[in-house]
């Protein structure tokens, strides 16, 4: 059982990092970022090539930063011009990006699957007393939780965090109070892309790289955000861990149900509490 909890945590934490980025961008720009899965996939592939030439640790730092810069550019030269137009325009932009990224990945790295070995320090298993568990998965759990704790602290206690919360609550009033909403949004989109990048790098040695990896995880990430409550950050965090755990526990105790669990959870939440777990549209 404790191993199942760890399994659930590992996958849940990956969803956690991905969905916080998605939720942040939705909060500020009001757009469901369809490119989120593609960015995650791109990060995994770039990290693979980069770790081959340098090391995993370099990739872990460099790839999220590079993608954050890319996010900044997407916001500055794309999303910013579409504010105030129909949401379809923004969605089409991000939807289009997924195709571009997917084709770039396919033409550079091909269609075959790849696996990456974890760095040698994290390669073996760790004896936890009650079970031995792959060290790399423990690392994923730790890094993911740290990243999310950092994000929450930043949102709650920093000045920019305050602006982010204010802008995603009511961008017009925030703007009237002197907050540069475009600048805040750019920061947040960059952060969102950076988090997708981090998830991608972490996923490399944990899962398998294939051109389908982005779409597969994007669907679950959408579910996480809906279950957590669109526009909230804390809600999806809870939902990510919940879905991760539910997945791993049903895989053992009710295997025939396991494929349906995320969808069932979404159904129940939409029927009983359509606003999601967080309930109210706030930044936290």
């Amino acid at each position: 059982m404790s191993v199942q909890v760890l399994n659930g945590l590992a996958f849940g934490v990956l969803l956690l990092v991905l969905s916080s980025g998605l939720a942040l961008i939705f909060g500020l720009r009001g757009v469901v970022n369809f490119a989120h899965g593609a960015v995650y996939m791109l990060a995994a592939y770039v990290a693979m090539s980069l770790s081959g030439r340098t090391s995993f640790w370099v990739a872990l730092v460099v790839v999220p930063v590079v993608l954050a810069v890319a996010g900044l550019l997407v916001d500055r030269f794309g999303l910013r011009y579409l504010v105030g137009r129909s949401p379809l325009d923004m969605v089409l932009l991000t939807f289009g990006l997924t195709f571009v990224i997917a084709d770039v990945v396919q033409s550079v790295w091909g269609t075959q699957a790849y696996t990456i070995d974890p760095p040698s320090v994290l390669a073996g298993s760790t004896d936890l007393g009650f079970a031995t568990y792959p060290t790399y998965r423990l690392f994923v759990i730790a890094v993911g939780l740290l990243a999310c704790a950092g994000l929450m602290t930043w949102l709650k206690f920093s000045r920019t965090g305050l602006f982010v919360r204010a802008s995603s609550d009511d961008r017009v009033t925030a703007g009237a109070m002197g907050v540069d909403v475009d600048r805040v949004s750019a920061t947040v989109v960059a952060l969102g892309f950076g988090l997708a990048g981090l998830a991608g790098v972490l996923a490399g040695p944990y899962l398998t790289l294939s051109p389908a990896m982005g779409t597969q995880i994007l669907i679950i990430t959408f579910i996480v955000v809906v279950v957590g409550g669109l526009g909230s950050i804390g809600g999806p965090m809870v939902a990510a861990l919940l879905i991760g755990l539910a997945n791993s526990i049903t895989a053992v105790h009710a295997p025939t149900l396991s494929a349906y669990v995320p969808y069932l959870l979404m159904l129940v939440v939409l029927l009983l509490r359509p606003q999601g777990i967080a309930g109210r549209r706030t930044a936290l």
């Binding site: 699957a113 974890p118 298993s125 294939s210």
Partner: protein, 408 residues
Amino acid sequence: MKNARVRGGAIVAAAGLTMAAAGCSGGAANTAKQDTDGPIRVAVVTPQSGPYAAYGEEQRKGIQFAADEANADGGIDGHKIELEFADDLGTPEGALAAAQKLVQDKQAPYVIGMVSSPEMAAVTPKLEAWDALMIGTQGQSDDLTGKACTPRYFRTTANDTVGINTIAYWLGQEDEPQWDSIAADYSFGQASTTGVENALEDEGSDLGAKLFSPLGTTDFGSYLSQLSGKGGLVVSLAGADAVNFYKQALQFGVLQKYDTVLANTGLSSTTLAALDDDRLVGALGTNNWLPTADTPETAAFVKAYTEKNGEGPTENIGNGYMGMQTIFAGIEKAGSIAPGDVADALEGLTYDSIQGEVTMRAEDHQIEAPTYVGTVERDAQGQLILKATAAIPASENNPTANPDCNLK
């Protein structure tokens, strides 16, 4: 404002998904027109994107090689080969739209290259109306040569029953008393598990853990913790699922505990190349054809392919190639490139292929060909390969026609 935005997003999302899923189909049943003296036009319908894209690429390589080789030889029965390509997205709707486009607009009546059974099942009912002929080079569903069989569909690879008989034949040679099984939760994995269960029962061996993972499982952690690590393990997973499973099983240290690991089809060259892990050496795998198969025809094909492409063929490249060999054999026998004549000629035809002499069974259009068992080794070039150790003849793997289909 907020609700409008949320609702807008949801509508857009739904519209996007619908757009992605929908393909156009239907259309009039006008037949493919092909000049009887002209080239042989082949519709290469493969997934170029989506989860099956890697398989699609392999199929195209094998088909292209066969066409180039035949053209360099002066064509087949005096006809040049021309290939037309379309992306079927790996979906049944996409396959139908792509096949229809190539057959009717591009007058390419010989359809080949689809990867999954659902793609094929969407197209096979239309073949007669289109006056086309299709060769199945990968999907294994029994139904395509069973209750859904059609006169214009021929399968040149193993089906589920053949795969199971291959595993069962091999299990009959082993004396491992205890086994676990993990399989993909769809027809291939379920059929495989049932077959394994029956074979083990006949042997008096026990099947302990019997696990099914949904197609596209990314994290196998929960399944791995249920595997005992005692005796033998049968793995019936394919594609990215197989890669994911083996990689994580090695990380958890589960795979190494088993005395014997036996993979139904999943240990392909591409899977082994993606994993490239020495701890897999010694694992056993079955397949419907292996580049290491000990026949002169296979050796000649592997040599020619490697000379031209600089790397050896994978299993699915061979499957695509063999599908083309079948079209060529039918055309040569018929002395015509009309699909109807070729279909008649193929029924019961015995011809030479990369698997040696094979027969296209008249009753259900399922090929009678050997299947192979192999062991994972590192070859002289340092690549992990599945080295064929035994060939199981068609009389063992596929003795009778599917009773649900009677085309003769």
